[in-house]
């Protein structure tokens, strides 16, 4: 049952041992309530659940899989990271904490000063500090550089007024890293500064946004004369744009969500092969079988493309690879969830907010929630613009 491996780089015996170690750890340590939530395709685990799992990982020394050992990471090779990501997904363990572990940590490691690293990295590793990302604004979504939320220098502080939009987990975060307009005179990419904000500071109001799946993950955040010390600035004043670009390109692993989609596909196959009350199985329909087969082939193509592009040594192909992997990854992921929702029929369509019925309602929640994936983190449209320019040269 080894993965089909076109590289032979994942087939080394010591990696096989590593894979077994990861599997054993997950079997022993993954709490059942967390596993169940993830197996219902939920991304919005509670703070307590995320924290509990992060502490389990931290005890094992596996808290931040991509980080160097000196900052509290396991110091793994790229192959180990790849295997760890696959096995956690297959076990229905949570994704890594995006904002702290995947985004801010590596950014501080690259751009933060020693004081910032000492102050913030341990809280991310041990799960005590939660972060949110203050990038988007009501009129700066796809066009992020158009952001207008102002930070005005006043002695050893910045004074912030304005608003941030679509801020995931602002309501459970301790800190925000964000982009603020410190100079409006030049090109819009200039005059942007990268600041770290204590979410308990006076002058912050958080207004929840409920999404079409009925969940509360995102918020609008308002700043009213909020003061931030200059020591919480990462990099130089007016030079935050390059830090943000670097941060947004960090998510090489997992951006295609291949491992999660493999897990979802296996769930779909299980549903399709369950004997139904009328005796048949969904898979007996040749058309349904075709839909599953085509999705599986799409997913294998994507998986192999990810391996090709991830392990590639070619220069300059990385950003483009990330773009097409994200576009195609969300398409495949959304298609699997959609087919699963259709497979479960009307019982998936019951509204869990107004009904005791649990059953299959999780799938429509997931389907609706995952519509966001082709919008956030650079919409599919923006990704295509990037590829058109960077790869096609148009």
């Amino acid at each position: 049952m080894a993965d089909l491996d076109v590289t032979n780089r994942l087939a080394a015996p010591w990696l096989g041992k590593f894979r077994e170690e990861v599997q054993a750890f997950l079997r022993a340590e993954l709490p059942e309530d967390i596993r169940l939530a993830v197996s219902a395709e939920r991304m919005d685990l509670s703070r307590e659940q995320q924290q509990r799992w992060q502490k389990i990982l931290a005890r094992k020394g596996w808290a931040c899989s991509g980080w160097p050992r000196q900052f509290g990471g396991p110091g793994w090779t790229i192959e180990q990271q790849y295997i760890f990501e696959r096995e956690t997904a297959l076990a229905d363990a949570p994704r890594p904490i995006v904002m702290g572990v995947q985004m801010l940590g590596p950014t501080l490691i690259a751009f933060g000063n020693q004081a910032q690293k000492d102050r913030f990295l341990p809280g991310i590793v041990n799960g005590d500090q939660f972060w949110c990302q203050g990038f988007s604004e009501p009129n700066a979504g796809s066009d992020l550089a158009a952001l207008q939320c102002r930070a005005v220098r006043d002695g050893e502080s910045y004074v912030i007024n304005g608003t941030k939009m679509w801020t995931t987990e602002a309501h459970i975060a301790d800190w925000m890293f964000g982009l603020f307009r410190t100079d409006g005179s030049g090109r819009k990419q200039e005059g942007i500064t990268f600041l770290l904000i204590d979410m308990r500071s006076p002058g912050i109001t958080i207004s929840p946004i409920v999404t079409i799946d009925g969940g509360h993950e995102v918020n609008q955040v308002f700043f009213d004369n909020l003061r931030v010390s200059v020591e919480n600035r990462v990099g130089d004043e007016n030079h935050g744009w390059n830090i943000a670009k670097h941060l947004l390109s960090l998510e090489r692993f997992g951006i295609a969500e291949v491992s999660r989609s493999i897990r979802s596909l296996l769930r779909l196959k299980r549903i399709a092969t369950e004997p139904r009350s009328d005796g048949g199985r969904l898979l007996d329909s040749p058309w349904f079988a075709r839909q599953i087969a085509e999705l599986e082939i799409d997913l294998m193509s994507l998986e192999l493309a990810e391996i090709r592009l991830l392990f590639s040594d070619e220069d300059g192909s990385e950003a483009a690879a990330a773009s097409i992997l994200k576009v195609r990854g969300t398409e495949v992921q959304q298609a699997i969830l959609e087919l699963m929702m259709i497979a479960l029929g009307e019982s998936a369509q019951i509204d869990p907010e107004y009904s005791d019925a649990e059953g299959d309602t999780w799938i429509a929640t997931a389907y609706l929630n995952f519509r966001k994936t082709s919008i956030y983190g650079g919409s599919s449209e923006v990704q295509k613009n990037i590829v058109s320019k960077a790869v096609l040269g148009l």
Binding site: S142, A146, I209, T211, I212, D278, W287, G345, D351, L368
Partner: protein
């Protein structure tokens, strides 16, 4: 759309649209959405007074003397404003079954009340153990001293909790074979009936209904005993065509919302509607809506045909094509809205939810493909 409508039908449709536009600004309703029932009795009385319920039925039974087309026009307009109300259950399903299959006595007994909004009817036929296969239905109607006793459980009964009268499909003799199905009209308040209501994601109401030795007389059988599968086939064709018209209304509304948004939303210093890639996608949405509307109207027209295979072919064709289009249009309209389209505050996501609800109601795309292929005419073009 005008070309196929009479002048009266155009006036009727426009009056429906005006009434709904005045009273049912969808944004307001969504913001007010709470634990209170989405549907109100007062609203239903207004609709009855306007004659929407009576429109498709003959004057002899309290109707206005219109046709299936009038029903289709109401459905399309309801789709545009996403108004949850028991029109589909009571008028389309209940009314059609009574009109086509009821005895003169039953028409008198029920239709006038349906037209006046005094009685609401729901059709209870699906069962969790039968899927969409009528021949596997388990509910039974046992003969008891000249009467029947109905027992069994029905799932996803549309507006089952709002209805006064239930039309129940049950096996009226032992043994398999769908020739033995019969339809019974029983009051929802009858002894032995237990209703578990469910609110659906799109705001519609369904119920699981348990029947435990519920008594019905011979006069409560709709049509002839044993004719149930035939009647259900006919009514489910009507339901498919009508819900397609609702989907068409919802798709056009989502399209217009999106188009309006593209004309005001600015990114990169331009209205997003000025980006050619988005323009061409919206032209595709427009084209798909036109094609969906055409096949849905074709299905409505086919309902008048005496050729049962043609009716089934057209209704399944419409449900299949409209279902696939509903997915594409609904998802595309949310995507083109970006983040704001993901919020519950904004109407566009509610259209997506209703379109998904429609896709899974009365058979999904694979179900209708199977039905279409089953009456596929290999020698002729399908629409003749």
């Amino acid at each position: 759309m005008e070309f196929w409508l009479t002048e009266e039908q155009v006036m009727f449709r426009d009056s429906v649209a005006r009434f709904l536009a005045d009273r049912h600004a969808i944004g307001d309703r969504l913001r007010a959405r709470s634990d209170a029932a989405a549907f109100s009795d007062a609203e239903w009385r207004s609709i009855a007074e306007l004659g929407w319920l009576a429109a498709p039925f003959p004057e002899a039974y309290g109707g206005i003397g219109g046709s299936t087309t009038d029903m289709a026009l109401v459905m399309e307009q309801l789709g545009r404003v996403l108004l949850p109300c028991p029109y589909l259950s009571s008028v389309v399903l209940g009314g059609t079954m009574l009109l086509h299959c009821g005895s003169a006595r039953q028409k008198e007994r029920f239709l006038a009340k349906i037209c006046a909004g005094e009685m609401r009817v729901a059709l209870a036929y699906a069962e969790s153990s039968a899927g969409s296969d009528l021949s596997r239905m388990a509910a039974v109607a046992r003969p008891v001293a000249g009467d029947y006793e109905i027992s069994g459980s029905k799932t996803f009964v549309l507006d089952g909790g709002l209805a006064d009268c239930l039309l129940v499909a049950a096996r009226s003799a032992d043994g398999p074979g769908d020739g033995r199905l019969s339809i019974f009209a029983v009051p929802r308040a009858a002894a032995g009936i237990r209703v578990e209501p469910h609110r659906m994601r799109d705001g519609s109401e369904t119920a699981t209904i348990h029947f435990s030795s519920v008594r019905a007389g011979p006069e409560d059988v709709i049509g002839r005993p044993g004719q149930g599968a035939e009647l259900l086939g006919r009514v489910l064709d009507v339901a498919a065509a009508m819900i397609c018209m609702e989907a068409v209304g919802a798709m056009w509304a989502a399209y217009h919302l999106t188009l309006d948004y593209m004309k005001v939303r600015t990114q990169f210093g331009q209205k997003i509607g000025s980006f050619q890639a988005l323009q061409h996608r919206m032209v595709d949405v427009y084209t798909q809506c036109q094609m969906a509307q055409s096949i849905a109207m074709g299905a409505v027209a086919a309902l008048e045909s005496d050729d049962a295979a043609l009716r089934t072919r057209m209704c399944s064709a419409a449900k299949l094509r409209v279902g696939a289009t509903a997915r594409k249009v609904g998802e595309e309209c949310v995507q083109l809205h970006g983040g704001i389209g993901m919020t519950r505050e904004h109407p566009v996501g509610h259209y997506l939810k209703r379109l998904n609800g429609i896709r899974t109601s009365f058979g999904d795309e694979n179900h209708h493909l199977q039905r279409y292929v089953a009456c596929f005419d290999p020698d002729n073009y399908a629409s003749r």
